[in-house]
Structures are given as C-alpha cells and as structure tokens.
C-alpha cells in the first residue's frame, strides 16, 4: 500500500515498522509531527518530555534497557541535549537508538540556522540524511540496524523541506522487535575516567570501521551520466540537482558522516569538474578538499539560507534562468492572533516603559512594532537568566525597569533553573510567565502543566504556583491578562519590589477556546481617531482612511481594545 506522507510522518512510520518501544521529544518546528504521529500507535510508549535533554536521556535509558528508542528535536534542541549526546557515543547502546534532528535552513521558524552535521563529527556519531519521505522511512529502519550492528547512536538529520514535504511512501508491516537482554556492565555504562578512556578507544575503532564500510553502503550511491560535471550532494539538495541538472553525474551521500573516502576519490577521478552542492556551511566540501581533491564549488554557494533549483542551475551553468521579478507589495509578517492573551501584557509593558528579556514562543512576536514588548530573544529559558544578569551588571535601581517574559511550556523546559538562580543569588528580578496552557507556536502540544499526556490521557498537573513558591519566591500573583487594569497595577507593584517576584498571566491560547465571546464594534460617533486601539496590533481592528472598524468575524471578544479606549467608543455587540 502507498500513502502520501510528510517526511516527519514517514519518520514516524519507520519507527513503527522498526519496532520502536519508546519515542520521546520536546516539540519544535520543523520536528514536531514526528512524535505526534508515533503517539497514534497504541503499542509504542510516547511522551512529550519537559526538554530535549530529558527526552534524550529517557531514550538512552530505553535503548540501554533493551528497547529500541527514537528521540526527535529541532536543531537548537540538540544543544540542550548535547551533554548526554557526547557521552552516549562512548557507552554505545544495547537496543538501537536513533536521534532525529530537524535543521531549519532559511529559518522559517527558528532563531538560528546551525548545522547539525558538525555535531556528528564532534561527537563521533554517524549521520544519515534522507532526501524525501520514502528515504525518511527507509533510513530510520536502516539507522536502527546500523545502531545495533556498530553499537552506536545514529543521528538522522532532516531539514524543513524534507520534514514538511509530502511524497509517496510504500507502507510495510512492522518488524516486531523483542526486548534485548539487559546485562550490567559498568565498564560500558559507567563513564568515569578509567572506563571512559577504554571506551574512547572503542569509539575511534568504531568510527574507522564505519568510515571504511560506508564505501559499500547502498545509500552512498553513484549515478553515472555526463562526466563533464560531477556533483557530490545529499538530502534535499540532491532533489534540486536532479530537477535542474538531470544529465550530471552524481554521488549522493545518504550517510554524510563519516565519509566514504574511497568512493569520493573514485567519483572525483571520473568527472571533469567536481562540485559539492549542500546547504549551510560547506561540511562535505571541506572534507573533500582536505583529501587534496580540487572542487569547482569553492565559495560558490552562500552559507546562508536555503538553496533552490534556480540557484544551483545558475551557479553551475553560469546561465540565468529566465525569471520574472517579484511584484512590490506590502509584507505580511506573522502576528499575534485576535484575542491572544499575550497582547494586553505587551501593551502594558510598553505603556509602563519597561524593558523585557524575552524568550522563545508565539510571544516572541511581541517584539515587533507596535507592541515592542520585548528587548531580547536568545534561546529557551534565557529570559530569566538574562534579566538576573542585567540586574547584577546594572544594579538594583535600574532593574526596576526590567522584567523577564517567558511562556509556560518554555518555563518548564528551562526557566525553572534560572528562577532558582535568582532566589539563591539574592536577585530582585520580576518574571512574567505568559501561561496560555499549551505549547502554542508549534501547534498546541501538551506539557507537564496541562494535565494531559501526548496520547490525550489525563496526567497529574504541575502546579506552577506551588513550584515557584517551593523555589523560594514569596511574591506570586496570578492575573487574567484580559483584565488590563489589573495587569497594569500588578506590573507596577512587582517591579518596584526589593525582592524577586513572579506574575503568572493565566489565560488559555485564544485558538484553544472554541466558544468566542460576542464581538466588539466601534461606535463611530464616539471614536476620536486617537489610534490607541491600533497600538494593540490586533488583526481584527483595521483603519481605512479615517475610519477605525472591527471585523466581527475575526474579533474573538476579548475586550482588551474596549479597555484601552479612553472614549468608550468600543462596545460589545448585542444580539
């Protein structure tokens, strides 16, 4: 049977067919759908872990314990999971362990475009790179076989265009895997210096064997064609090359680390001009050149953004494809939704002229005009550590114009330790948790404070107030962010304190609330066109010449605009 599957769905299918016992993840675009799809299989244990480090540790536990495990994350999630990553390369596994990492060249939904291939090289872990959904499924099954044959974790590197493209996949029966026997072996699984030194020897030997064997792996494949141009490529770049240069000879690397040196050398010797076509940093290119092989693609492609068929064609042939220029039209950036509970908080942060160390989520959009509610965004959880650092650098008085702003899921992911730091090291910062009861930006995944597991089963609810209280925060306020007056008074009060405090702005994501309140409308006789409501950047409120109006099909009835209007010109519609 054949099905059209996203690359991410195909990874999930591969995990099912490979007999995976445990699947873990923290949501992150473009990787989220992998574990959502695996969770639909009743016979696989799946979880949203609080963060990627925990997710990898759970998967390692399963693998060493004897059950095949798969863990999925976006590229920056691997930074969080890097600590266990480097050492599980030493211990090896028992049952197979596959780590799926989805890179985001072009930064469609990310804060950087780091290249996961370097992790494979740094940690001595093989990396497979599928180029479409069928390969995504096949490579998962192959990755488990390599993992068990070579006693190593295996990384599957996806990119946005592979993860979020659909193509046809042949559906097969699951293999059915038995739990492997677990044997206590401290020389293998306890990485203290004496044991780790011995394991490092094994790691080096394993990578040498893998490099040697990769010359004969069928996923490293030569397509001989016109020999005047030879192209070494992998992943989505392979598909672009096939589309625009159908006559070129190609060495397609299904495994991008370690490298098949003999295959590369043989291929290079059979073609007149050799190009390496890859997105981001020249990872393959650097290796080919280090072998003393000349390439024609040195500095040919930018390290920034995605490639396209047109780019590859014009760079290699020197001919410009005949393309029209884009029309000059206003941009359409993403915006906070109508009724978004974050909007009023940002409006008030700006009104009170506060600075905010921000974090990762939908609420990062609050940095943009006209809300301009946050000053910084670095990584998951950074807001809390950063606001503390700003206080320590600039002194307590200056800190009273600063707060940290973080979402509920992000706080659980990696904000808790920052808050402990503030209390322990006698900080006075105020942290605002924008608690919308979900992981919003990635499409509404549950987390430890939502009361549901990934499978929709009821779960214990992490009580944020009790947790924060236990950390030692004495001043905790829970505020409905639709209540603008309360938002203002509480923000003013808490930033003035000489002790640390937390404000939890609690209101579910507007997209989760199915029942809308009655919409609002502008009473044109009262409106003085002061534009205060326009500063909310609500997609439902528009200005046409001198008339401000509310689109009642978009309005969700939150009423924040009515509260900011000084002339009572915005009123709820009645039946």
């Amino acid at each position: 049977m054949k099905e059209l599957l996203l690359g991410n769905e195909a990874i999930a299918r591969g995990a099912y067919e490979a007999g995976v016992k445990v699947a873990t993840a923290y949501p992150g675009t473009p990787s989220t759908e992998i574990t959502e799809c695996i969770a639909k299989h009743d016979d696989i244990y799946a979880e949203w872990s609080p963060n990627e480090k925990v997710a990898l540790e759970v998967a390692i536990g399963s693998a060493i314990g004897g059950g095949r495990a798969i863990v999925s994350m976006k590229h920056v999630g691997l930074n969080v999971a890097a600590d266990p990553l480097f050492t599980v390369a030493y211990t090896g596994i028992n049952a197979g362990l596959v780590i799926v990492v989805a890179d985001d060249p072009g930064m469609h939904s990310s804060q950087n475009e780091q290249n996961t291939r370097y992790y494979g090289k740094a940690a001595n872990i093989p990396i497979l790179e599928p180029s479409d959904s069928q390969e995504a499924k096949d490579f998962v099954i192959l990755a488990f076989d390599i993992s068990e044959e070579y006693d190593t974790p295996v990384i599957i590197r996806m990119t946005t265009r592979v993860s979020h493209s659909q193509s046809i996949v042949e559906i097969c029966k699951p293999q059915g895997q038995k739990l492997k026997e677990y044997k206590k072996d401290i020389s293998k699984y306890v990485m203290m210096p004496a044991m780790a030194k011995a394991r490092h020897i094994i790691v080096e030997d394993r990578m040498n064997r893998l490099a040697d064997d990769s010359n004969n792996m069928s996923i490293n494949e030569v397509e001989t064609n016109d020999r005047s141009v030879g192209i070494i490529t992998s992943g989505i770049s392979y598909q672009y090359v096939k589309e625009v240069l159908p006559n070129a000879s190609i060495l397609k690397l299904g495994m991008v680390y370690p490298f098949p040196d003999r295959l590369i050398r043989e291929f290079a010797s059979t073609v007149d001009r050799l190009y390496v076509v890859e997105e981001l940093e020249p990872f393959i290119e650097e290796h080919v050149k280090s072998m003393g092989i000349e390439t024609a693609s040195d500095n040919l492609f930018s390290i920034q953004g995605e490639l396209s068929g047109n780019t590859i064609y014009s760079k290699i042939t020197g001919k410009q494809p005949n393309v029209k220029s884009a029309a000059n039209v206003p941009g359409r950036p993403p915006v906070l939704c109508p009724g978004c509970p974050h909007r009023g908080v940002y409006y008030m942060i700006k009104k009170l002229r506060l600075h905010a160390a921000g974090d990762i989520g939908c609420y990062t959009l609050g940095a943009l005009p006209p809300l301009e509610g946050i000053d910084t965004c670095i990584c998951m959880g950074a807001s809390i550590g950063m606001v503390h650092g700003i206080e320590k650098a600039r002194g307590r008085d200056d800190t009273k114009s600063w707060i940290g702003v973080i979402g509920d899921s992000t706080f659980i992911h990696s904000g808790i330790t920052g808050l402990i730091d503030i209390v322990y090291n006698k900080g006075i910062s105020t942290v605002a948790i924008l608690d919308n009861s979900t992981t919003g930006m990635t499409g509404h995944q549950d987390h430890p404070a939502t009361g549901k597991t990934i499978k929709g089963e009821p779960a214990p609810v992490l009580n944020l107030v009790e947790l924060i209280s236990a950390i030692g925060i004495e001043h905790i306020e829970v505020v409905d962010p639709y209540d603008i007056t309360k938002v203002e008074t509480v923000l003013k009060k808490e930033v003035e304190r000489d002790e640390p405090s937390v404000i939890i702005f609690s209101r579910p994501c507007a997209l989760l609330t199915k029942e809308k309140s009655r919409p609002f409308a502008v009473d044109k006789s009262k409106c003085r066109h002061c534009n205060m409501c326009m500063d909310l950047a609500c997609p439902a409120i528009t200005r046409d010449e001198n008339t401000i109006s509310i689109d009642k099909t978009l309005c969700n009835g939150c009423g924040v605009c009515a509260d900011v209007c000084r002339f009572n010109a915005i009123e709820r519609l009645v039946d």
Binding site: S109, S167, K242, R332, P333, P334
Partner: protein
C-alpha cells in the same frame, strides 16, 4: 469508483509535471486543498510531491503550498516562473506570488482582501487595482468571490472547496473523481456542504 479518474489520467499524461502553487494567509485552509489534489494525483498512479509551511508563518503570515505531480517528481518546490496554476486565497497574495507563474500559466484569485499588519498600522497602503495588476502579470487570470459563495452556502470555511472546484474546471475534467477526493478528505459532517461548494466553484 475511479472510472472517471482513468479519463483524468489520460489528460494528465500529456504534461511532464503539473505544478500547482497554493497561496494565502495563515489560517485560511490552504493545506486541505493541497492534500485533496495530492491524494487524487497519487490515486491516479502519479508521482506526487508537496511542500507545506508550518510554524511561525501560520500565525496570520503569508503561506504557500507547492503541489507537483507527474511521472517522476524530484524537487518538492516549484521554481519561480514554472507554476502551471496558482490558486490564491487572497488578492495581495496573488500579486506577491505571481512571478511564480509560467508564461502560459493560469492564476485563480479569490477576491477577498485581508489587510497585512503594515497596512493595518497605516504604515503602508493596500495596493489598488490588485486584480488588474495580477491580470497584467499572467497569461490567464480567473477572479472569483469565493468567500461570498461560501457564505451563501452557510459556511465561510468551505471557500477552499469552492476554489478547488474552479481548479477542477481548469483541468477540464469530469467532477466525480474530484468529488470522491473531497469526500475522503473533509470532516464527515461537512461532506454535503463541501460537495455543494465544489460544484459552485466548478460551475463558475
């Protein structure tokens, strides 16, 4: 069930790959449209690739879905200047993506206007005469008020199925295979209204 689909295949085989670009504003339901087209093409025995946008852009940003089918498809992305058909769910998005159209391509435009943030804030103007500009930039342009048709049927959300009907007509094929594909891909409760929406679009 697929008797008429075989006729459709006979038509499709004349083309190398068919490239359909679907553009709109995050939240308008462009993904369902692409999935219906993709599954129909796969059922006909064609190779199919589609590329979607998830994550940040879905929060009211400009969104695009690429659908390609043919004997063999490599890249899931349509290059600039190679779209056979563009389905635009919004006027401004039609203009934004119009350079993707091939020299002989057709663009189907829903006449709905959704102001982007720079326009809402008054920093930029929503361009005037957008449909005329799109016509100037395309071989063939079909403008239709799909939202009004959907609204008259009683559900704004079926505007995507109205546009699907317009597309099916452009592919000059009998409606039955498409109707089966609609039935398989929409929520069971909405099958009847989606079929009516498809026929309204097809008969425009």
């Amino acid at each position: 069930m697929y008797v008429d689909l075989m006729q459709l295949k006979g038509w499709l085989i004349k083309m190398a790959t068919t490239n359909i670009l679907i553009v709109g504003v995050g939240g308008q339901g462009t993904l369902l449209t692409s999935r219906i087209i993709g599954n129909l093409a796969m059922d006909l025995g064609y190779d199919v690739k589609m590329s979607e946008v998830h994550g940040m852009s879905q929060r009211g940003g400009s969104v695009v879905t690429h659908v390609k089918f043919g004997d063999k498809v490599f890249s899931p992305l349509i290059e600039i200047g190679t779209a056979d058909i563009i389905i635009a769910f919004e006027q401004l998005e039609a203009l934004r993506w119009s350079h993707y159209l091939s020299d002989t391509g057709t663009i189907i435009v829903n006449e709905q206007k959704i102001a982007p943030l720079p326009v809402i804030l008054g920093n930029e103007q929503y361009p005037t005469d957008v449909i005329d500009k799109v016509k100037d930039r395309s071989f063939k342009c079909i403008a239709i008020d799909a939202l009004k048709i959907a609204r008259n049927l009683g559900n704004d959300r079926v505007l995507n199925t109205v546009l699907l009907g317009v597309l099916a007509k452009q592919l000059e094929m009998p409606v039955e295979g498409w109707l089966d594909a609609v039935e398989e891909n929409v929520p069971p409760k909405t099958i009847a209204i989606n079929k009516r929406a498809f026929k309204e679009g097809y008969n425009q």
